[in-house]
């Protein structure tokens, strides 16, 4: 047996490496655009900037809050903070919060430009590829005259120019493709090879929490480009999966992407999930949303919950995966930090959605109080190459950590 130990001294790193993996670990499905060496380097840089901001700069915001923001407020007002909005407004005057915020916003905008350059320079090729994969496929059901909900039309969510719906050319898929390829940079690789750490977590959670559930029909509401529904469709290969979203480009890209990954049991349907009257009563065993409710509105949420109640078979399960609600137990500082994406990353409803009692909204939609479900999940990723949110104690990237709450009900 030969010795594997070299006599040559190896270059020792200054410290153990704990940063994001190289972008090249991201999964290359068939709708993936061509990325040059420089374009990959941009995503590497941006993943590192986001990781640096959350681990090295953001803790300074809490330190500044304790050292000067809160004491100054107490001294001038003669009382503590009443609510998270007072905290945020006080933080806005502090240089540490200002600089962290300015850099976080700049990083998000730079990430958008980096991804859009990649997809727009090869738009014709990507759009032709999506067309070849989806044309005449009955699993893509578009409604070109569907009115956009105000919550989509009013603002481009997470500073993504054109949001989920804009088409720069006929059959455009460059928007979702940009979304897909850049999630790595935004999360520092926390969502795994196919950005599906959330969907994988849902599949694992359902199998553990409900081992007897053998869903025949599954509905994903607010599915986007389907990155979270693909692992669910893979986990239940016998099921017929329906993914609904308002954005045609997302659905077109979603079907093409899923097909190139060998996933054939998802139908992508364009619709406003507050009115799914095209779908029959009691026709689904399982309905879920993943990081979706915070992009809707108070006007639509009761309708969404009512639709899930109507669409579920008796004994069926519905659940929504979201960041935790703002409860009285959550410190106001944490609530204010979690509101950052609402006010400064174009997620306006985030703040209002997280303050309501979701249980009472579910009950109002017809679910029995004793049939409500609560749980928690963390992104499931390949631990050899990706950072694991469940084990990550170094950062609490308020609102962006890849660990979520589950609220739902059995009908």
């Amino acid at each position: 047996m030969s010795s594997l130990v070299s006599d040559k001294p190896k270059a020792q790193p200054a410290r153990p490496y704990d940063g994001p993996p190289d972008y090249r670990v991201v999964g290359q499905h068939g709708m993936y655009p061509q990325l040059s060496h420089d374009e990959i380097s941009r995503f590497n840089f941006l993943a590192h900037v986001n990781r640096h901001l959350s681990t090295q700069i953001m803790p300074g915001v809490k330190e500044a809050f304790d050292a000067r923001v809160e004491p100054k407020f107490m001294a001038t007002q003669g009382r503590g903070f009443k609510d998270r909005h007072e905290v945020r407004k006080a933080l806005l005057k502090d240089p540490m919060f200002q600089w962290w915020s300015a850099l976080r916003r700049a990083t998000m905008e730079t990430r958008q430009q980096a991804g859009r350059w990649v997809t727009l320079r090869q738009a014709d090729h990507l759009n032709a590829k999506a067309k070849a994969l989806t044309e005449h496929d009955q699993r893509l059901k578009l409604k070109p005259d569907l009115p956009l909900p105000r919550y989509v039309e009013a603002i481009d969510h997470h500073c993504m120019p054109g949001s989920y719906h804009t088409e720069l050319a006929e059959g455009d898929v460059t928007g979702p493709c940009n979304y897909d390829i850049g999630i790595f940079a935004t999360t520092g690789g926390m969502l795994g090879r196919y950005n599906d750490g959330g969907g994988q977590a849902i599949a694992a959670w359902v199998k553990e929490a409900l081992p007897d559930l053998k869903p025949q029909r599954i509905l994903d509401i607010g599915a986007g480009l389907g990155h979270n529904v693909v692992p669910i469709a893979q986990a239940f290969p016998e099921a017929e999966v329906v993914a609904v979203d308002v954005g045609a480009p997302m659905l077109r890209y979603g079907l093409a992407r899923a097909k190139t990954m060998g996933v054939e049991n998802i139908t992508f349907v364009q619709g406003d999930v507050s009115d799914l009257s095209d779908l029959a009563d009691e026709s689904f065993d399982m309905i879920h949303s993943c990081m979706f409710l915070h992009e809707t509105s108070y006007a639509s949420m009761p309708k969404i919950f009512a639709e899930t109640h109507r669409l579920l078979k008796p004994g069926g399960i519905v659940f929504h995966v979201e960041q935790p609600q703002y409860t009285p137990e959550m410190p106001l500082f944490e609530q204010a930090m979690r509101d950052w994406d609402a006010f400064y990353n174009n997620e306006p409803f985030w703040t209002k959605m997280h303050e309501v009692d979701l249980d009472s909204w579910m009950v109002a939609a017809g679910f029995a109080p004793d049939k409500l479900i609560h749980g928690g999940v963390a992104a499931v990723v390949d631990p050899d190459v990706f950072p694991q949110a469940a084990q990550d104690t170094k950062q609490e990237d308020y609102g962006r950590k890849a660990a979520w709450h589950v609220v739902g009900a059995v009908k």
Binding site: L46, T107, R121, R150, A154, N346
Partner: protein, 117 residues
Amino acid sequence: MSKIDPLVLAGAKSKGKRPYFLDTDVERLTNIVLVLAQELAVVRERTDTLERLLEQSGVLTRQEIETFTPTKQQADERGAWTQEYLARVFRVLQQEREALQAQEASSEEVADELAKV
């Protein structure tokens, strides 16, 4: 030829009034500096790849790099790269131009609107 011009559209502004946290000029400059830092990292990584591959294959010497002169075609390709580069560096000014032509609500205003039952 595609009607989509990535040089213009890649840096498009997202809908919604942009918040500023610092003196606006300082923040604009911060955005420019961030992208310069990004492109420095890009070049650094490319150089790193190059040096590692050269080290493996041993086909080039440093002297050949020092004395290299581009042809017309090569110089044009370098110029096109520089155009793309500057569109990245000056994205925030492009979005100021776009903001001049848009009437948009802030996230706070939209949050209140969306909370109306």
